[in-house]
């Protein structure tokens, strides 16, 4: 019988961002986003956990080749996010506030179509050790 196993790979990136909605007044922006609305931005060391679900290949004993997952994660996400200003340098966040929620969703959309083996189960993004968001691809 084939067995489903969940494999998680961690990665880190550091980036800056600002929370600001141009449709809000300056007062509304400050009230909703607080310190995160500081116009010059601020940054975090984000920790990413990507969980892939799949059956264990009886020949290799792997769900998928970790090296391949690491490469996809690097090319599709870390290259784009690490040491960047998310609002200014990442296309998804040109008109979308780069909250931890939206970073998790953007990471999912970048990774899901690139996985050749297994399926993406969860993307977890830690903004700080005390705050993280999980996204499972749900509408």
């Amino acid at each position: 019988m084939k067995k489903t196993v969940y494999l998680t790979r961690k990665a880190e990136f550091s980036a800056s961002h600002v929370y600001h909605n141009p449709a809000f007044s300056p007062e509304q922006n400050r009230a909703v986003f607080g310190k995160c609305n500081n116009p010059n931005g601020h940054g975090h060391n984000y920790v990413l956990e990507v969980t892939v679900k799949g059956e264990v290949d009886p020949r290799t004993g792997f769900v998928l080749d970790l090296k391949q997952l690491k490469d996809v994660l690097h090319q599709e996400v870390l290259e784009a996010f690490d040491h960047r200003h998310l609002n200014l340098e990442v296309p998804e966040f040109k008109n979308l506030i780069p909250t931890t929620e939206n970073i998790a969703i953007a990471t999912w959309k970048r990774l899901a179509p690139k996985l050749k083996v297994g399926s993406l189960h969860r993307v977890r993004v830690y903004e700080t050790p005390d705050l993280f968001v999980d996204f499972y691809g749900e509408e």
């Binding site: 929370y19 909605n21 449709a23 809000f24 909703v32 986003f33 607080g34 979308l96 506030i97 780069p98 909250t99 931890t100 929620e101 939206n102 998790a104 969703i105 050790p129 005390d130 705050l131 993280f132 968001v133 999980d134 996204f135 499972y136 749900e138 509408e139």
Partner: protein, 138 residues
């Protein structure tokens, strides 16, 4: 799109695990060192997970200020540096971390801005308890 947001908090409290309906010997056999008559304490770590649609205007499931405020009022102010056995919710109920976890879930359930998914309560680095929706994701 639906996302799950988790926030971690800490509080410190003391308790004694002792059931009045058991004999002294049964209490000692059941609770071991936790039955020490003078109690003992822990630094509890609490994880609160809420879920909801990510708001198009704010990019958030809910505003952290609101969640932090609720947890501060309902949990931290109530339990931090307290003796759990002296609180009314543990009158006649043993303040195990299981019972405290369920109690905290009930106290936070009325959060109007997102759906409370689950509570995870770590008593020490070595053991933790979770309570929430029946189909809660781990």
């Amino acid at each position: 799109m639906k996302a799950y947001l988790t926030r971690r908090y800490q509080f410190s409290a003391s308790h004694r695990l002792h059931n009045e309906s058991m004999t002294e010997a049964e209490n000692r056999a059941t609770y071991g060192k936790c039955n020490n008559p003078y109690g003992h304490g822990h630094n509890y770590a609490l994880e609160v997970t809420v879920s909801g649609q990510v708001d198009g205007q704010t990019g958030m499931v809910c505003n952290l200020i609101d969640l932090d405020g609720l947890v501060q009022r309902e949990v931290i102010e109530r339990y931090d540096h307290s003796n759990l056995n002296c609180l009314p919710e543990f009158s006649g109920k043993v303040p195990t971390t299981e019972n405290l976890c369920v109690q905290i879930y009930q106290q936070l359930q009325e959060f109007p801005l997102a759906h409370l998914e689950k509570i995870k309560l770590e008593e020490t680095m070595m053991n933790s308890f979770e309570y929430g929706d029946s189909d809660v994701r781990h």
